[in-house]
């Protein structure tokens, strides 16, 4: 039953924020509901990992619709974690912007609905229903992307909706063909588990068509190159806490749907799901690495880094084998905590300077030490410097690839990661430590941008610290329960 509570709690919160009770109520309800969801999910994860009986968690009558296993619980856990830190961050960040109460209420209602749509993805067992909630994530977040109602934000939201839904149209066709494949194989129930069971008897051509359509269709929303064009726009124009959710975990929760197809495809004759994943993943990492070098906007920088990391995850899955799968799972974890931290830091830099142009920000560490330090820490972490979480997971993936004998793929992946490292760090280094070229002091340079402030909201700084804990911790030590959860999740990628 707790699964249903976890998914529906944000809906309740969305309804509650509509009660006209003032600012504290609106923000308080959102934060409390997110934190409660995090606790419930942690408890659920514990029971799934150590209870050995995931089926008993659900009423039998629901089993055709809902299912939880290691992989879905892992995604759930990090959706709720990022949602909680982003909600705490937003308390100070959003109220700092002198928005009306009505706009804030709209923001919180939309935010909670968006979280609901993401939470529904990993727990639904019926693929077409999963497709519907994937559509809902786009529709619930569209108005969050366009929240500032500027020309750029509206353009970003429009591109986001049109391209995501276009991809979803292709994916819908894929899901219907997959149903036909399952039907032709005599599959009794159209669920992920039922599909895995029916896979050996499926007509290969149907399942291959379905896989490619879903990979391309949902890959659009994951941000895989060449379908990524909307992503840097949407992930940079949205308010920073929303960026943290979009980049940190929404992309991953859509990637989860593609990962569900991997064990099905392993049983289909002549299917090359791994090769497709490897090629598409490497293209994404490579393109993103070079695009990172020429960005002009530091929120777009982190958005391109998301394309890179989605590529790394897909490459890891494509490498095959349980070690690479474990690496992919750990990459999901480290990316979601690190990327959300990066967008929190970018949001603070934006508050402090009032501009998103990389070229306009110099010497941030001297003027606003908190924002400067956070930005450089976030940059080092996401680029993969030791001893942070991303470093460890990338190392695991490269190691697994080498032991599998994929030397060329590993060499390319390592080269792209290094290029991306320099791309990220060159830009951030100049922003944080650089001096402005025209000789004027940093202070004067920054003051020219209206809207900048040096007092950063307390709750946002608190969220920054909360988000930094796992970034540091998972780089040096993976707690035993998390290790067991990651192993379970990785096992879901093979038959």
């Amino acid at each position: 039953m707790s699964v249903i509570v976890i998914v529906l709690l944000p809906v309740l919160a969305a309804l509650l924020v509509c009660i006209p009770l003032g600012l504290r109520w609106v923000m308080g309800v959102t934060v409390v509901s997110c934190l409660a969801d995090l606790l419930l999910t942690a408890q659920l994860a514990w029971r799934v990992v150590y209870g050995h009986v995931p089926h008993e968690l659900l009423e039998p009558a629901w089993s055709n619709w809902l299912a939880v296993d290691g992989l879905s619980v892992l995604i759930l856990l990090f959706i709720t974690f990022v949602a909680s830190t982003a909600a705490i961050y937003a308390v100070g960040y959003m109220t700092h912007e002198a928005l009306t109460l009505r706009r804030l209420r709209l923001y919180c209602a939309n935010y909670n609905l968006f979280i609901f749509s993401m939470l529904a993805i990993p727990v639904l067992a019926e693929p077409t229903l999963v497709w519907i909630v994937v559509e809902l994530t786009t529709l619930c977040s569209a108005l969050l992307v366009s929240f500032y109602n500027t020309r750029e934000a509206l353009e970003a939201a429009w591109k986001y909706v049109v391209l995501s839904l276009m991809g979803a149209g292709l994916a819908l066709f894929g899901f219907l063909v997959m149903f036909a494949a399952s039907h032709a194989a005599g599959g009794q129930t159209y669920t992920w588990a039922g599909l895995v069971a029916a896979a050996p008897r499926m007509p290969p051509v149907l399942m291959q068509t379905a896989f490619l359509l879903i990979l391309i269709g949902l890959g659009t929303k994951v941000g895989l190159v060449p379908m990524h064009t909307w992503l840097p726009d949407a992930h940079s124009q949205a308010p920073s806490p929303v960026c943290a959710l979009l980049s940190g975990i929404e992309t991953t929760s859509i990637l989860y749907v593609i990962l569900r197809l991997i064990p099905i495809m392993q049983a289909v004759q002549g299917a090359h799901a791994g090769t497709w994943a490897l090629v598409l993943g490497l293209i994404s990492v490579g393109t993103a690495a070079f695009l990172l070098l020429q960005v002009r906007d530091y929120k777009r920088l982190f958005a391109f880094s998301t394309v890179e990391h989605m590529g790394i995850m897909l490459t890891a899955v494509g490498l095959g084998g349980s070690a690479a799968a474990y690496g992919a799972m750990q990459q999901i974890v480290s990316h979601s905590v690190t990327k959300s931290f990066c967008f929190f830091a970018a949001g603070l830099a934006l508050l402090a300077t009032g501009t998103r142009e990389i070229a306009a920000v110099r010497g941030l560490i001297r003027r606003v030490p908190v924002a400067g330090a956070a930005l450089i820490f976030g940059g080092l972490s996401i680029a993969g410097a030791p001893p942070m979480a991303v470093f460890l997971s990338e190392l695991l993936i490269l190691k697994a690839g080498l032991s599998q004998g994929h030397y060329l793929a590993v060499a390319l992946l390592a080269a792209f990661i290094v290029i991306a490292f320099f791309g990220v760090m060159a830009h951030l280094n100049r922003m944080v430590f650089g001096t402005s070229s025209n000789g004027a002091s940093d202070r004067d340079d920054l003051r020219t941008h209206a809207g900048g402030t040096s007092s950063l909201p307390l709750s946002s700084r608190l969220a920054l610290i909360l988000a930094a804990v796992p970034v540091l911790l998972f780089g040096v030590y993976i707690p035993r329960p998390l290790h067991d959860l990651l192993t379970m999740a990785a096992a879901a990628l093979s038959r």
Partner: protein
């Protein structure tokens, strides 16, 4: 049901799907935004007709439900939602500056249909005979034509219709090869289509208020290389 009736139903279904394809061509070609909407309504009626005919032919009663959902949601609720949310101007817009002119668009559309037949053939061969029919290739063709509409149009309404046409195309194949999909799922997908219309209507209204145009596809200020005006998120 005797053979002659079955044959008649199959022929009628072929007619409905043929006309369905024709409406998709129309949506690619017509310039008047309002005409696009009308063609889309006709297309949805033809989808409902195809569902009902297949339901009758194969005795699958829940296809009547699919037909009914399509009859109510697309011709009635979609135009109503559009009137409620989006600015009135979107209907009267004529698109002069399409990316490609009409003869070229139609030639590419024709090529897409031929490609769809080749893509559809292996799928149709893989399902059992009862699930075959004109629905498979035509569904794929209309899916591709919808995607094509999205790439060549700039006005809000034709873009929105392009998305819904893609969904119609997927559905036309769906009622043939995945006809045992549950009613709950069909209803959910129909509701989803309505949410698309609502959200996009709201976005178009905001764009028109802020930028003064409904040619949302032509917005292009977010780029990596071009210098763009300073945007000020924190103080807006």
């Amino acid at each position: 049901m005797n053979d002659a009736t079955q044959q008649l139903l199959q022929n009628l279904n072929a007619l409905a799907t043929g006309l369905f394809l024709l409406t998709a061509f129309g949506i690619v070609a017509v310039r008047q935004a309002n005409a696009c909407l009308n063609l889309f309504i006709v297309q949805s009626l033809l989808l409902a007709a195809s569902a009902a005919l297949l339901g009758l032919r194969y005795g699958t009663s829940h296809l009547y439900g699919v037909a009914l959902v399509n009859l109510i949601s697309k011709p009635i609720i979609v135009p109503w939602l559009l009137r409620k949310t989006s600015p009135a101007g979107i209907y009267t817009r004529r698109e002069i500056d399409q990316v490609l002119d009409i003869p070229i668009s139609l030639t590419i559309a024709l090529a897409l249909v031929i490609a769809a037949y080749f893509v559809g053939a292996p799928i149709a061969n893989a399902v059992s005979a009862a699930y075959r029919g004109p629905n498979v290739p035509i569904g794929i063709a209309v899916l591709l034509l919808g995607a094509f509409t999205l790439t060549v149009r700039r006005e809000a309404l034709p873009l929105l219709i392009g998305l819904l046409v893609m969904e119609n195309g997927a559905f036309l194949t769906g009622i043939s090869i995945a006809r045992d999909l549950g009613m709950l799922v069909e209803l959910a997908i129909a509701t989803d289509g309505l949410i698309i219309v609502f959200i996009m209507g709201v976005l178009v209204r905001a764009v028109q208020k802020q930028v003064g145009t409904t040619a949302v596809g032509a917005l292009a200020s977010l780029k990596e290389t071009a210098t763009r005006p300073e945007t000020d998120e924190a103080s807006s």
